[in-house]
Amino acid sequence: MEIIKIGKIKKTYIVGDVKVHALRKVDLTVKKGEFVSVMGSSGSGKSTLMNLIGCLDTPTSGTYILDGEKIDELKKPQLSDIRNQKIGFVFQGFNLLPRTNALENVELPLLYDRRGRVKDPSEKAKQALDRVGLLDRMDHEPTQLSGGQQQRVALARALVNEPSIILADEPTGNLDSRTSIEMMKILQELNSQGITILLVTHEEDIACYSSRIVRLRDGIKIEDKVLTEIRSAAKDLEEMGAIPVELNGNGYSTEV
């Protein structure tokens, strides 16, 4: 079943008199349960594509159907609702609310959910934190967490409202390699539970944990291949040996 269907999508920025073609007629179809890596050099249009898929931005032209819904016909408030209910974002810079603890950060999407589906947001947020292994840090504010932990909180926030897809724009960009693989392990776990994932990365070492690679260059899709062999992040971590990444003596992690 197709969850993302993009047809001839174009995004042109106009800066002064110059037209910047961030995306030129890109087609992309993603099936439910896929784990897609979007690759390409800097400025190739990866983030632009993610923002369009994530309904943060609207295309200059082209069509977009998400989970059976024609996105290009929706107005701003409806786009907000789509972002809230169908999409979970993970950003390179974590983007957690400052001076707000992990639990409250994760709760946030539930508070904006107009369906009022979740009776106990706090309980639901705790479950999400548990899924990323950070339940014991729910009272910590972002400054009291390591980069890897912050990104896991961001991931918990992304999945708390049970979205159809998780969009991660260079989620490992600010993390060291080991923490990056841990992040990939969690993403693989979530993917195996049926969540569709789109991941932007420029590292081949990270892309190899996904099931499909889409490559962009200058706003054009130049490659789209399904990986036959998918590496397991859990296995790689095991081989690297179990270095404790959790706490050191003073209660703070030493990772980046």
Binding site: N51, G54, L56, D57, K76, P77, S80, D81, R83, N84, Q85, F89, F91, N95, L96, L97, P98, R99, T100, L108, P109, L111, Y112, D113, R157, N161
Partner: protein, 404 residues
């Protein structure tokens, strides 16, 4: 987002920026405080003035000789001196709305007693004068009809005169000389205090007839002091007095009255319209400072919105609608101004009480004004919070997220 959550978010953001929140509120605090304190002082002053006028007597109507112009250019109000004792008698006999009426003869002069000297007003009045003026005796007696008939040389002293001439000794029974005529002091009046008309206790009362025949030419009286039956019939009483006196003076229909009436209510109305205007003026000045406080809120909210661009981006990205962001910032602004309003009310009440305590001003704390200032500060929050909030709500999520 539910209102409970929005309140929580607004509350947290206020608490997180304590100092800035307080400075933002300061404008509102001062504005509301100023409104409350100034209006309290304004109303207090006007009530004090009114009570001073009331202390002139009860339901008082004064009849004076001269044209009926009030405060106009009628030169020499007493020049057509037309009022006589006969008029007083007629009023007493024919009127239904009059409780008491007393003639009033004004004289003045030097008073000498036990070697001391005092210059004061000497007023000839009827025995019922104290009832009209709502006045009591401190000691001794007041003169009666008998003393009026005999033009007795008796005097009742006002408190100031008594203090000046006799200090601590008892003046009753003592002898004084007014314009070299010996008088016997038979009583002392209660202190009535000063009013805007001057010291009411600086006076000597003598029988009308004594003043009229022994101290003036013996023809005309200066004034008629009347106490109406009640405050509700002041106008009827005035009309009636007018009719009776016109008849008594044999005035034809087309002729203007050669006397004029002035009632206490009228004076109170005039004075309170002045003090009322003063209160409004003070209130308006204070309201302007409240407005300035509102602009302060807008200023800080604009800074806050810019500062929190990233936060707004995050909220939008995870599914907040523009409206949610708008309401969030609006609630924050309103909360700030309402809390400022509450503190301002406390501040204003303290300020007013301080003015009353240290500067001896009379104040009236009106809960309605507090309520109004409070609601107004809420309105200021909505009004000045709206623009920054709308700015926040209209942000583009991607640009907001990219903001550092």
């Amino acid at each position: 987002m539910k209102i409970k959550n929005l309140l929580k978010v607004a509350y947290k953001s206020i608490i997180k920026n304590r100092m800035r929140s307080f400075l933002t509120m300061l404008g509102i605090i001062i504005g509301v405080g100023a409104v409350i304190a100034l209006v309290a002082i304004g109303q207090g002053t006007s009530e004090e003035v009114e009570s001073q006028i009331s202390s002139l007597g009860s339901n008082l109507i004064m009849v004076m000789p001269g044209s009926s112009h009030f405060g106009g250019v009628s030169r020499g109000a007493g020049s057509i001196n037309s009022l006589t004792l006969k008029d007083v008698d007629k009023l007493k006999k024919e009127s239904t709305y009059i409780r008491e009426a007393s003639a009033y003869v004004r004289a003045s002069g030097q008073v000498i007693a036990v070697g001391k000297n005092w210059s004061t007003s000497i007023n000839g009045v009827d025995p019922n004068y104290l009832i009209i003026k709502d006045w009591e005796l401190e000691k001794g007696n007041f003169f009666t009809k008998r003393e009026i008939r005999s033009r007795a040389k008796v005097a009742v002293l006002g408190k100031t005169v008594s203090d000046e001439l006799f200090e601590d000794s008892d003046p009753v029974g003592q002898s004084i000389r007014i314009r070299n005529i010996p008088f016997k002091v038979i009583g002392v009046l209660d202190a009535k205090g000063s009013s805007m008309m001057g010291d009411q206790d600086d006076v000597i009362l003598v029988p009308t007839s004594t003043a009229l025949y022994r101290m003036t030419e013996g023809k005309n009286i200066s004034m008629i002091m009347i106490s109406a039956v009640s405050n509700d019939v002041m106008e009827e009483a005035q009309e009636e007095i007018e009719t009776i006196l016109r008849k008594s003076h044999n005035l034809k229909d087309e002729e203007a009255s050669n006397f004029r009436l002035r009632s206490q209510t009228e004076i109170i109305d005039r004075v309170s319209s002045v003090t009322g205007a003063l209160t409004v003026l003070l209130g308006a000045i204070a309201a302007v400072s409240l407005l300035v406080g509102g602009i302060g809120i807008m200023n800080i909210m604009l800074v806050s919105v810019t500062e929190r661009t990233k936060e707004i981006g995050i909220r939008l990205a995870i599914g907040a609608r523009g409206k949610d962001v708008l309401v969030q910032f609006l609630i924050e602004a309103v909360l700030l101004s309402l809390v400022g309003g509450i503190i301002g009310i406390i501040f204003g009440v303290l300020l007013a009480n301080g003015a009353s305590y240290f500067m001896n001003m009379s104040i009236v704390l009106n809960p309605f004004i507090s309520l109004m200032a409070f609601s107004f500060s809420g309105a200021v929050g909505v009004f000045f919070g709206f623009y920054p909030a709308r700015k926040a709500a209209a942000m583009d999520p991607i640009e907001a997220l990219r903001y550092e």
